[in-house]
């Protein structure tokens, strides 16, 4: 479980995060949604302390990351996995080496054990026969899946995904979403996903935090998000004509 309390962050006097508090539950896919530039990525990176916040508390199962020294942060980060927007795979390493990298750095596993675990992680994200390929040789969707495999290599307690669907087609997006959801349940981890993809919201939104202009706009789940009266959230969720039609149809169906 991750709890944030009264998080504030400004860049050159310009407030980006304005007093945000919320709880991200264990074993659930916690979504942070909002328009581009609303502060989602800043919030996600602040939680893992890649960005220093100005004020507030960030508690990982009661441990405040802001009060930790460099050594303790390093230890805590070994409990985290993160899938970055572009995958952030190491260009100089192939798929297999990318997934093995955290094990090489932080475990005393034998080569055979590592190879077995690499195979397990890659199987888990449905990647077969691409072990020796380099990141530049695989598709965007595969890169994301390899990034997920690397993120779960050390069995993390916390998984962070920064727009895992960006740049992917709808079918691959759903595959990635389902994969993250399955992994969250399977490993019972606290997952935070930063997204503005409405498919993700509807498919895997166990717990949704809506951020608008740096403020906490709304909190709920994927069912509640359809019928909210929050004006800003409605404008965001039903921005496209298709989603508006779906809502109207669903409302009609419920009325009948």
């Amino acid at each position: 479980m991750i709890e944030i309390r009264n998080i504030k962050k400004s860049f050159e006097e310009r407030p980006i995060l304005k007093d945000i508090s919320t709880l991200f539950e264990k074993g659930k896919t916690n979504l942070i949604i909002g328009q581009s530039g609303s502060g989602k990525t800043v919030l996600l990176k602040s939680i893992v302390r890649l960005i220093e916040v100005d004020e507030g508390e960030i508690l990982f199962d009661g441990r405040d990351i802001r009060k930790m020294n460099f050594k303790d942060i390093k230890l805590l980060r070994q409990e985290m996995g993160m899938v970055f927007q572009g995958g952030a795979l190491f260009d100089s390493l192939n798929v297999e080496e990318n997934v093995r990298f955290p094990m090489d750095m932080f475990t005393t596993m034998s080569t055979a054990e590592k190879n077995k675990h690499v195979d397990f992680c890659l199987d888990r994200v449905n990647i077969k026969g691409a072990h020796k390929l380099y990141p530049s040789e695989i598709s965007g969707g595969m890169r994301k899946r390899v990034a997920i495999a690397r993120a779960i290599a050390l069995n993390p307690k916390y998984l962070f995904c920064d727009e895992p669907n960006s740049g992917l087609d709808p079918v691959t997006s759903i595959l990635i979403d389902n994969l993250i959801k399955e992994i969250t349940l399977e490993f019972d981890i606290t997952t935070l996903i930063n997204t503005h993809d409405m498919n993700s919201v509807m498919e895997i939104g166990d717990n949704i935090l809506f951020i608008s202009e740096g403020e906490k706009g709304w909190v709920g789940n994927s069912t509640q998000v359809l019928f909210t009266r929050n004006k800003k959230l409605n404008e965001f969720v039903f921005a496209s004509p298709l989603s508006k039609r779906i809502r109207d149809l669903k409302q009609r169906e419920d009325d009948e």
Binding site: L50, K74, F84, A88, D91, D104, M105, F106
Partner: protein, 246 residues
């Protein structure tokens, strides 16, 4: 004020770079890769430039020493000392600042903008040490080797250009090479190459590590790193010459 802030940030980064590695074996593997990439891949260009420069210095010395009172063996001596004292350490380091420095800045800068450095940090890896320390050791280790290679190739260059153009015989040239050799000149230049090697690795690494933005900023950081490293090499050349020859 910005200069002081930059110097402060540079030393803070160096403090992180020289902290204890997570796993020495991984660093060792990285070091070997960096030696190959930054050092071995520079051997060819260093050899070619040095051969030509050695030849050019020989011809320039001959054409500009037209006095009959000056013995021609001074051409070999002049070429040797020019190579040892300045060309093979300072000029070559300026060239390496361009080749190796821009490589380091753009590589680390690209890793920064594609969030690979954030990814390392997120795993609990000290990204500064992991990425920069092997490069520093590799460049500092390889610099004296490149210096010795450069002096050797420069002398060979003079040996080819002098007799071919008929300005000096092989025997006279080689006689000059063996005349009045001061071993301290070599020690002095190796000390300089070690310092320059450190600058060539750390200044571009600092520029690349602190890139913010996209591809354009990576390019700018690369250019800035070459300019800053070159200026610092010349500044330290001046300081070391004053200190070591005093």
């Amino acid at each position: 004020m910005k200069v002081f802030s930059e110097i402060g940030s540079y030393f803070l980064l160096m403090y992180r770079v020289f902290s204890r590695p997570e796993k020495s074996r991984i660093y060792w593997r990285q070091l070997l890769l960096e030696i190959e990439k930054l050092g071995i891949h520079s051997l060819g260009i260093v050899a070619i430039i040095s051969v030509f420069m050695g030849g050019i210095i020989t011809l320039q010395l001959t054409y500009n020493m037209s006095s009959p009172l000056m013995p021609t063996y001074l051409v070999g001596l002049g070429n040797r000392d020019t190579l040892i004292l300045e060309f093979s350490c300072t000029v070559l380091s300026l060239m390496l600042a361009g080749k190796v420095g821009s490589n380091i800045a753009s590589e680390i800068g690209s890793m920064r903008v594609t969030e690979q450095i954030d990814s390392l940090e997120l795993m609990g890896v000290n990204s500064a040490a992991f990425l920069i320390l092997p490069k520093i050791i590799a460049v500092v280790f390889i610099s004296p080797i490149l210096f010795i290679l450069s002096v050797f190739c420069g002398i060979i260059g003079g040996l080819i250009a002098g007799p071919i153009s008929g300005v000096v015989t092989v025997a006279t040239y080689m006689g000059g090479i063996r005349t009045m050799f001061v071993p301290f000149f070599v020690t002095f230049s190796i000390i300089k190459t070690l310092v320059f090697g450190f600058l060539i690795a750390t200044v571009p690494a600092y520029q690349g590590y602190n890139v913010q933005g996209g591809a354009l900023e990576v390019g700018r950081a690369s250019t800035r790193s070459v300019v800053n490293t070159s200026i610092l090499i010349l500044l330290f050349d001046l300081i070391l010459t004053q200190l070591l020859f005093k």
